[in-house]
Amino acid sequence: MIKTPKLAANLLFGLAAATASMTAPAIAQAADLVIGEIHPITGPAAFYGLPESQAIKAAADEINTAGGVKVGGTSYQIVIKTADDQASPTVGVAALRKLLGEGAKFIIGPIASGVAPALKPIIESRPDVIQLIDGSIADGLTNGKTIFRNQASVQAYNDALTRLTKARAYPTVAVMTDRFHAGFMGSQKTLVDALDAQGNKVVAQEYHKLNDTDFSAQLTKIASMKPSALVLRGYPAEGALITKTARQLGYQGQVIWEFVSPPSTVLKNISPAEMEGVLNAIPPTSQDYVALGNEKALKLEARLKKMFNAEIGELSTLSYDAVYIFKAAIEKAGTLDSAAVAKAFTQLKTTDVPMAINPYVPGKDNLLFTDGQVGLPGGVQIWKGNGWQPLADLKH
């Protein structure tokens, strides 16, 4: 008897909570725009993926604060749903299915070149899903209909490299590639042909893989050929170890990296002195824009600091731009209907995304995407002191 009022109160509370849980999503969905993002939040590539995820949330927060995404008379608040692919194709597929199951039709990511090809057939089987890749550089990922990419293609990386090797007129070059990196392996022959054609004779092509720890056999072979430049294509930890081993084995030529390498990660594996003068041929990174005083990049850096107490990542600006590209396409379409948004993607002009940080090169008729791919110019960085700096003069 004594417990009855408490039981009744509990029942009433439970009923109220159940009613609220049934009605609350209906109200929220009316003004929510769900964007799913797939990045390696944990695992060996988390140092790439976590800053990208944070930049997406920063962009969404900025847009929401400014009034949201305007479609007709409705302002939609962006809701970001995050899925962790751990840079693994298997986990990535599960992550995508999770997002689709949660109703996300607009997807940003992934970064890993092994994950993106695994997601492609699933995305293509769902015409109501639009993907914007902000990280992976592998060839053949975009279709220009529902899959787009605002990251540079591997070709842009290779263009930056070939411009550098041509400007410096290296007579001989050796190339060492991560044999499980889909983007680099897929473009290996094209790169080697391009180098040979412009007079940078490729004297050695060697291979390694992620998490290898011994590169001495390959580097002994390379060092014996004394190439003017050694090009490394893979990931930062292996790049650092290869650079150290090459010097130890007496290689004295120019070491050139061709991959995004956060200084914090690099310096956990090699000393600044050993990195001094190493070149990196990649499109400009977020940190380059910060170093160059780009106001929007500086603003993003400050927002990331405030929201997550985190530094800006090398690819953060691409992820940030991706949210604004979705906003521009949806507003241009004037609806959340996927087919209309996908069409708007193909009609977007670079000027339609004024908040974008990266300097996308306009395609034909000033379009942002050509066959689903943006134009991003490659650049070269040089390691000085404790980090990379943009290299203006390629010859010196």
């Binding site: 944990t42 695992g43 060996p44 988390a46 140092f47 044999r179 060697e206 291979y207 390694h208 998490n211 720890t213 011994d214 001495s216 056999a217 390959q218 002994t220 072979k221 014996s224 930890a237 292996e238 650092a240 170890l241 130890q248 084995l249 007496g250 990660t265 956990k268 594996n269 090699i270 000393s271």
Partner: protein, 289 residues
């Protein structure tokens, strides 16, 4: 091509000494206790992470190596007590599954504590010895010397001490050893502690040579099992020679055939040895009791 040979041989010896160092502890535990301890790679990883963390906190590298090794010995004993001892009378399959489970748990724990980003401890012995025909880092010379010293140390314990006599007796015939009054629990504890010491020491030292990350033990322990097959299970000298042989073969395949075939070469040798000399290159045929 032949002008590279001295350097490639040095590369092979250097790589092989790291395999041998890891295989020593594994072969001891496998040879005496018949436990296929896949978690040995995680003891190696924990030695490396502990050293990295201690050096990062300002502790001298050599002192950090000692502390890290002691930590790993303690963890190794706890691992045996919690994971393997309860399965003492179970099948080898149960032991293998338990070892794999322990391996994954330790990897995930390390990921939670330290994250997954690779990092390397600064080398305590900088510099490179350059000779006509080859060069080698002073630290790598130290690793080779340490591997030989570790072998010598374990050999002395096994062959010149009462504990070693007891360990060998248990390895030969557990039941007979028990009948002779040997306390199996003590032998087990000592064997696991020595195995963990070798794994932890290897990780602590090699953290200055290789990147440290939670799954760093997987590949070395797989290679160490190959070394065990090459050298003969439980054979210390076989672990050293098998490790060096594997290192040299890997380097020669990568240097003279193709770097894409480096791992293929390793496992081809494994298959060949299993087919042609299953007791290992340096092992003896024993009858199943």
């Amino acid at each position: 091509m032949l002008d590279m040979l001295p350097q490639q041989l040095v590369n092979g010896l250097t790589l092989g000494s790291t395999y041998a160092l890891i295989a020593l502890g594994l072969t001891l535990v496998f040879g005496v206790l018949l436990i296929p301890n896949f978690a040995h790679g995680e003891l190696y990883m924990l030695g490396a992470f502990s050293t990295y963390a201690l050096v990062g906190a300002g502790v001298n590298f050599w002192l950090a190596v000692v502390i890290a090794t002691v930590i790993v010995i303690a963890l190794g004993v706890v691992l045996d007590r919690l994971v393997f001892q309860p399965l003492d009378h179970s099948s080898s399959l149960s032991l293998m599954i338990a070892a794999l489970a322990a391996s994954i748990i330790l990897q995930q724990t390390a990921t939670i504590i330290w994250g997954s980003e690779p990092r390397t401890t600064p080398s305590p012995i900088p510099g490179v010895l350059r000779m006509a025909g080859f060069s080698i880092a002073y630290f790598q010379i130290f690793v080779i010397a340490l591997t030989l010293a570790a072998w010598g140390g374990v050999w002395l314990v096994l062959n010149r001490s009462r504990l070693g006599l007891a360990i060998r007796a248990v390895a030969q015939n557990k039941g007979a050893a028990q009948l002779m009054g040997i306390e199996l629990r003590d032998v087990r504890l000592a064997t696991f502690a020595i195995g963990a010491l070798l794994g932890g020491l290897g990780g602590a030292i090699l953290s200055a040579n290789f990147p440290v990350y939670p799954t760093m033990g997987i590949n070395p322990v797989l290679k160490a099992f190959v070394v065990l097959v090459l050298g003969g299970i439980g054979n210390l000298w076989g672990a050293i020679l098998g490790g060096l042989l594997l290192g040299i073969v890997e380097v020669m395949v990568a240097g003279y055939i193709s770097s894409q075939l480096q791992d293929v070469g390793t496992f081809m040798i494994l298959v060949l040895v299993l087919l042609l000399r299953p007791q290992g290159l340096f092992g003896r045929v024993v009858l199943e009791r």
